[in-house]
């Protein structure tokens, strides 16, 4: 997403390049922040903080890591440290992840979930699960890239992602039934 050359120029003290770099990554930073905090104002605040941190820490980036994962690590850390409101996430009983009952199978299978419901469901995921989902779907990261961003083992990433999808699926199913909503 960003040319190495630009990054190097920024690291060598070219403020022009550094600002350009920040502009390029700004949408990616904001997108992650937005889906993690689910609130425009907080997302802007977190993004500002992340970009400022990148501005001041640009020299600590090493090319052995991907720049985009380095950026996402900064954003997610800031959000988790400061912006994630303490609202308790709904703990999802894993035992509820049973397969569908027989009743209205067809109807449910074919209906698409409302985007709003999905966002709300994401918002209710446990922290790490939500973060993994955001990186996977909003940043199009691979398992490895997610692992690099979050400094987690690959298997943990998969585990979080799989569980998150199952939880989402369950929550959305409940939404459709007019259940747990809210």
């Amino acid at each position: 997403m960003v040319e190495q050359e630009l990054i190097r120029a920024a690291q060598s003290g070219d403020r022009d390049a550094l600002i350009t770099l920040l502009r390029e990554i700004e949408p990616y930073v904001y997108r992650t922040a937005y889906y993690l905090v689910h609130n425009e104002q907080d997302a802007m605040d977190a993004s500002q903080e992340a970009l400022i941190r990148i501005y001041t820490k640009i020299n600590s980036y090493e090319e052995k890591a991907q720049f985009k994962t380095w950026v996402q690590r900064i954003v997610t850390n800031i959000v988790i440290d400061k912006f994630r409101r303490s609202k308790p996430t709904v703990s999802i009983d894993e035992h509820n992840l049973v397969f569908l009952g027989k009743e209205d199978v067809e109807k449910e299978v074919l209906s698409s979930y409302a985007a709003q419901d999905i966002r709300e469901a994401i918002d209710r995921l446990p922290e790490h699960h939500r973060t993994v989902v955001v990186l996977r779907y909003l940043q199009d990261f691979s398992y490895n890239e997610i692992a690099e961003s979050l400094n987690l083992p690959l298997n943990t990433v998969k585990s979080y992602l799989f569980r998150a999808r199952q939880q989402l699926q369950t929550m959305l199913q409940d939404y459709e039934k007019g259940g747990v909503r809210g």
Binding site: M44, T56, A115, R136
Partner: protein
């Protein structure tokens, strides 16, 4: 394979993580297990929905919103680096040229620090000097005092003096005593030089003497300037008191341009004078020709004294002085065809297009390092930013400029001594003014 294991396969399939045999396994299981098949359909649906989540964009530019903060950070870093810089004060200033390529954050820090902190008290010293000059002028001249007080241009220049009087009055009072001896024009000039120096001390060889004396200011650029001076292009470093400067970089640039037109030989200095601490650092040698007038200071020694004094007052004046006298560091240049002006100020490079008396901002781009000086191609279509690194390598960044702003940046780095070609628009205008202004005095010079 049980259903639980199959769910994992489903998940991985969503992420395109299955190889062919695994896909086959999954398909076979789904064919004979309605429950798993059902589950897989739901997961695929969810997966599609997730992939279609809107790629939200920020409602406005976040980077723009933090630019002031970033500037602040740069200043803070500078402050941190200040102490470090002061330790090395004795070094030739040339070596600390800002080079965008090689400069470290520390380097920036140094640069900025001067601006923020030391600057201030030096500025105060300058003001005092200006006040003294003012007194003299009042006695000796009838020049019109219509000029804007804000400009502290060339103190040495009598014309400018009048203009400065006003400003000087404001600030001078406190520091006058210390400056006492300032009564002499020379001393005044020197003090002003020092101020500048202090500011830009580490910055580099940049000399920005709107009037004529680059050579003085910058050891590296000997008399080149005199040769080129007649040219219309001016390169100036201007330091303006923050007050005036605030929010009006455009104004200052305009001022510079105005000065180019030699309306009144006596007045020009004041206008250009935006470069407040104008320094008449006239080293007697260079000035000799054009400027020099009676008011021109020639003694470097005085400078040293001044500097010390300034230092002393520094502590006393503290923050208050800072707020009042904060200087803004600028580098200004007018295109040969006088259609465009370019100014570097506070980390931003701005391009203005002249429209009669006024100037319209065409473009602004962030540029962290202070250019040593700025020059133009003869056709006015290309502007060049010059930097000299500590190792004497000279880097020149070029932009094509026009109504579309800045385009096609290129850079060239050369070994060897930096050779500056200065053409100073003001030089022509000021020829008769007998004023030497120098915004910066090289360390070597300074120390006599």
């Amino acid at each position: 394979m049980n259903c639980q294991e199959v769910v994992t396969l489903m998940q991985r399939e969503l992420d395109h993580d299955l190889d062919a045999p695994e896909q086959k396994l999954l398909a076979e299981h789904l064919n004979r297990c309605p429950a798993c098949s059902e589950m897989y359909e739901r997961l695929k649906l969810l997966n599609e929905d997730l992939e279609m989540l809107p790629k939200v964009m920020p409602p406005f530019s976040i980077v723009d919103s933090i630019l002031p903060k970033l500037d602040e950070i740069d200043r803070e870093q500078a402050a941190t680096a200040t102490s470090f810089a002061s330790d090395h004060k004795e070094q030739p200033r040339d070596q600390r040229t800002a080079d965008p390529l090689t400069k470290t954050s520390e380097g920036y820090g140094i640069e900025k620090s001067k601006k923020g902190f030391r600057f201030n008290w030096k500025a105060a010293g300058a003001v005092a000097a200006a006040a003294a000059v003012f007194g003299l002028i009042i006695v000796n001249s009838d020049l019109p005092r219509t000029q804007e007080a804000a400009d502290f241009s060339s103190l040495a220049n009598t014309a400018s003096e009048t203009a400065q009087n006003q400003s000087a009055e404001k600030a001078a009072s406190g520091s006058e005593e210390k400056m006492g001896a300032a009564a002499e024009d020379r001393s005044i000039a020197d003090s002003s030089n020092q101020e500048i120096e202090g500011d830009s001390a580490d910055k580099s060889t940049s000399t920005a003497d709107p009037k004529v004396d680059d050579s003085v200011a910058n050891p590296n650029q000997p008399s080149e300037r005199m040769k080129n001076a007649p040219g219309s292009v001016a390169e100036q470093e201007v330091k303006v008191p923050a007050k005036e400067d605030n929010g009006s970089s455009a104004d200052s640039s305009r001022v510079g341009s105005q000065s180019i037109a030699p309306v009144d030989p006596t007045i020009p200095p004041s206008r250009e004078g935006e470069p407040v601490p104008s320094k008449n650092t006239n080293t007697g040698s260079t000035d000799s020709g054009s400027q020099g007038g009676s008011t021109t200071p020639e003694d470097q020694p005085v400078v040293d004294e001044q500097e010390e004094q300034v230092t002393d007052t520094k502590d006393l004046q503290g923050e208050d002085t800072k707020s009042i006298f904060q200087m803004v560091d600028q580098v200004y240049s007018l295109s040969p065809d006088q259609a465009f002006e370019i100014i570097w100020v506070e980390g931003t490079l701005k391009l203005y297009q002249k429209e009669g008396e006024a100037s319209k901002e065409v473009a602004a781009i962030p540029w962290k390092s202070r250019p040593e000086h700025i020059s133009w191609s003869e056709d006015s279509k290309q502007v060049r930013l010059h930097f000299t690194a500590a190792d004497k390598k000279v880097t020149t960044w070029s932009y094509e400029v026009g109504q579309d702003g800045f385009k096609n940046r290129t850079s060239v780095t050369q070994e060897g001594e930096s050779v500056l070609h200065h053409t100073d628009p003001s030089a022509e205008a000021n020829k008769d003014a007998s004023v030497d202004q120098q915004n910066q005095l090289p360390t070597g010079q300074n120390n006599k």
